[in-house]
């Protein structure tokens, strides 16, 4: 085995073989994140569920009391819960991915590994939290007697798209974050605003047709709709929105990885 160390090129290539070699480290980093998150709590596995469940109760109350129109065909709590868990997965994971390099600074400055492992580990750890929040969803589906149709086979594709979107966005902001901490603040703001322009607590059918196209430029629109459609038989599979999201996801993931790999050579010097 020969290692050649040279001055950095403008773009550091990622080789699948090297990533495979470091799969143990990836597993360790994911485990470490999960353990750190659930450490020293008696209700460790309840907290991730607590927030979306509480919000579902609140939103359902509002809706029923105000008789507001939301454009939702399937049971509203189910609709909102499904949207919220995916949305929280998106925001938490993106924020953590963007700051993962700084969080792992101690490691990065001392041990060599392909740096892209750091953002990937943040996504995988959040995926675990996400899967916990799916349990109440299943219970609710049984209670409301709503079951998935054949679109369920597309669920893994939607989750993969989510992961790629998070990786892309996270990597873009991780790379930018090396130059200034302003970017972390900006990302937090962006994600906060995102909740209001995404179909989390309402359905896009509420919007007039002329606004639909501009609305679906938000990649989360297509993904949220596809996620629900693959879970609930009653929800229609999105057409244009999903195609737009798919293109966006690939473009953002590509830009993110390129930016991250370009910034990779500076990571240690700038941390």
């Amino acid at each position: 085995m020969e290692i050649l160390i040279q001055p950095p090129k403008s773009f550091t290539r990622i080789t699948i073989r090297e990533l495979w070699k470091y799969r143990n480290l990836l597993r360790t980093l994911v485990n470490r994140r999960i353990k750190a998150e659930f450490n020293q709590q008696y209700f460790a596995y309840v907290w991730p569920v607590f927030r979306p469940v509480l919000m579902v109760i609140l939103f359902s109350l509002f809706r029923n009391l105000s008789k507001a129109r939301t454009g939702v065909d399937i049971p509203y709590p189910l609709y909102v819960y499904g949207g919220l868990i995916l949305w929280f997965f998106f925001t938490e994971a993106t924020l953590q991915t963007a700051t993962s390099v700084k969080q792992n600074a101690g490691l990065i400055q001392k041990v060599y590994f392909p740096r892209i492992i750091s953002p990937i580990s943040a996504i995988l750890a959040n995926l675990t939290t996400f899967s916990i929040t799916v349990i109440p969803l299943i219970i609710m589906m049984i209670l409301y007697n709503t079951f998935p149709g054949w679109h369920i086979i597309l669920l893994p594709v939607v989750i993969l798209q989510m992961a790629l979107l998070i990786l892309g966005l996270g990597c873009i902001f991780a790379a930018l974050g090396l130059s200034s901490n302003d970017w972390d603040r900006f990302l937090g703001f962006l994600l906060y605003m995102g909740l209001f322009v995404s179909p989390v607590i309402y359905a896009p059918s509420m919007l007039p047709d002329y606004a639909r196209l501009a609305y679906s430029l938000n990649p989360m629109v297509g993904l949220l709709m596809a996620f629900r459609a693959s879970l609930f038989r009653g929800a229609p599979w999105p057409g244009t929105e999903w195609y737009i999201s798919s293109v966006f996801v690939i473009v953002i993931a590509f830009i993110g990885i390129v930016m991250f790999q370009r910034a990779e050579k500076h990571i240690v010097d700038r941390l």
């Binding site: 290692i3 001055p7 070699k21 480290l25 360790t28």
Partner: protein, 469 residues
């Protein structure tokens, strides 16, 4: 395929440094750097803003070599190790490494305080590329080595700092790389643990592994390395046999002078380090000028005062080992000789003497030749004399000793000193090799006091004999 495990070619690392009075987060800087970026000028900025931590370094390492890297703070040692362990990128040049490499830049890297010792062992080992089954097979060894015992399932945050270090080093010591990079990590734990660490490193390197060891402790470098690289301001100042390099380093950095040569003038006596041509005039004072290369060259000029005419004058003096070679670095079990050559200018009784000062600056002892018959040291005509005094072995402590050189006449009252060169020579004492019996015994740290003699000890258990009538 080459015989070298590490090949370093023209390696350089350049860091940008801030410009005085300009914060990197000021608007002006932002505008300027954006503008530079547009013009793709990023790399051609003026040299003032850059610091070359390493500059054009080249060397090769053969399999099984044990290399110490020494140098002052900021000489580039850690940068070199960082680049070798692929944590930082070089700016120029390249390194080829054949074989697996583990670097211990800092013990306890990646430890998570909230996890238990056991979890951290697995975590830490996987950072260094060990698989779970590898760790499981070594787990018991690791725990036994660390002496953590029953605390292994306690969160690491409740450990004492020493325990944390011990556990971390144990993991590190049970990795099995071809090349091991160590950066000052051996200074962990108490004495017995340190000894264990060093034994472990010995064990690893004797199995044909290559060791790369950065340290400020000359003792450990001499003990564990057979080759030494001295880095100074980003360049290799010296590369060679460990004793040689370490003594040169000690001589340069601690300002130790193992020899002096005095040039004779008619009225003035000038002392200088061999080869230097400094001409400075001052009256009965010494000027210690530090040369640009960091070596301390001294040019002393003693204008003999009108009060006395020097009846004797020093020509040269040196510190030598038992092979009569000039040296600045000695192990405590080595013989140290103080040699003086001096001129006698007039008839009379001339006795040479040395004063030896300990590292703390106090006078340890003064010594004269043990001669009873004054005739032996009486000179009737001008002469050239050489004297040599051997210091006892296993006698001095660790550190830099300085020597004053004197020639005086005891038959004139008060003692007439023909010359006294205060603390002109110096030499550095280091610990003897580990296996040898030394006055260090089992003591963990340095000994107080100016000397550390090896005494005749007898320690006997007298319990039994006192019980018997």
């Amino acid at each position: 395929m080459s015989e070298y495990v590490i090949e370093v070619r023209a390696l350089g690392k350049c860091y940008p440094i801030g410009v005085a009075g300009q914060s990197p987060f000021s608007w002006r800087h932002l505008c300027k750097s954006s503008f530079d970026m547009l013009r793709r000028k990023v790399h051609s900025e003026n040299q003032k803003n850059h610091h070359w931590a390493l500059n054009n370094i080249s060397f090769n390492v053969k399999r099984g070599e044990r290399i110490g890297v020494i140098g002052r703070n900021g000489a580039g040692k850690s940068t070199l190790l960082k680049i070798m362990s692929r944590v930082a990128y070089p700016t120029t040049g390249e390194i080829r490494i054949r074989g697996t490499l583990t670097s211990l830049l800092e013990v306890g890297t990646g430890f998570n305080d909230n996890l238990t010792g056991r979890e951290n062992v697995f975590l830490n080992a996987s950072l260094y590329g060990l698989s779970r089954t590898d760790v499981e097979s070594r787990f018991n060894d690791i725990v036994a080595f660390s002496e953590i015992g029953r605390f292994i399932d306690t969160p690491v945050k409740n450990y004492s700092s020493g325990m944390k270090m011990r556990l971390a080093f144990s993991v590190a010591a049970h990795l099995d790389p071809d090349i091991l990079l160590l950066d000052e990590v051996l200074a962990v734990g108490d004495m017995s643990f340190q000894r264990k660490c060093l034994e472990r490193v010995d064990q690893l390197t004797s199995g044909g592994r290559t060791l790369f060891f950065v340290s400020h402790s000359m003792d450990s470098v001499i003990r564990y390395c057979d080759r030494c690289i001295w880095l100074d301001n980003g360049i290799i100042r010296m590369d060679g046999e460990v004793q040689e390099v370490v003594s040169a380093y000690v001589e340069a950095v601690l300002g130790v002078r193992s020899n002096i040569v005095v040039e004779q003038n008619n009225d003035n006596i000038e002392l200088q380090n061999s080869g230097q041509e400094n001409q400075k005039l001052c009256t009965t004072t010494e000027t210690n000028s530090v040369g640009e290369d960091g070596l301390s060259n001294c040019s002393f000029l003693l204008n003999s005062p009108s009060k006395f005419r020097a009846g004797a004058s020093l020509i040269k003096a040196s510190v030598i080992n038992r092979h009569y070679a000039e040296k600045a670095l000695f192990r405590v079990d080595e013989q140290i000789g103080i040699q003086m050559h001096y001129n006698i200018n007039e008839p009379g009784l001339f006795v040479p003497a040395i004063h030896v000062y300990c590292p703390q600056g106090t006078l340890v002892f003064a010594a004269v030749p043990p001669i009873n018959d004054p005739e032996e040291l009486k000179y009737h005509q001008p002469a050239m004399v050489s004297s040599l005094a051997w210091l006892p072995v296993d006698f001095l402590n660790i550190g830099t000793y300085t020597v004053s050189l004197i020639v005086f006449s005891p038959d004139e009252a008060p003692f007439k000193r023909h010359f006294i060169h205060e603390q002109m020579l110096s030499f550095h004492c280091v610990e003897a090799v580990e296996e040898k019996k030394s006055a260090r015994g089992l003591m963990p740290r340095g000994f107080p006091g100016p000397i550390r003699p090896l005494l005749q000890w007898s320690v006997a258990n007298t319990t039994q004999s006192s019980e018997r009538p």
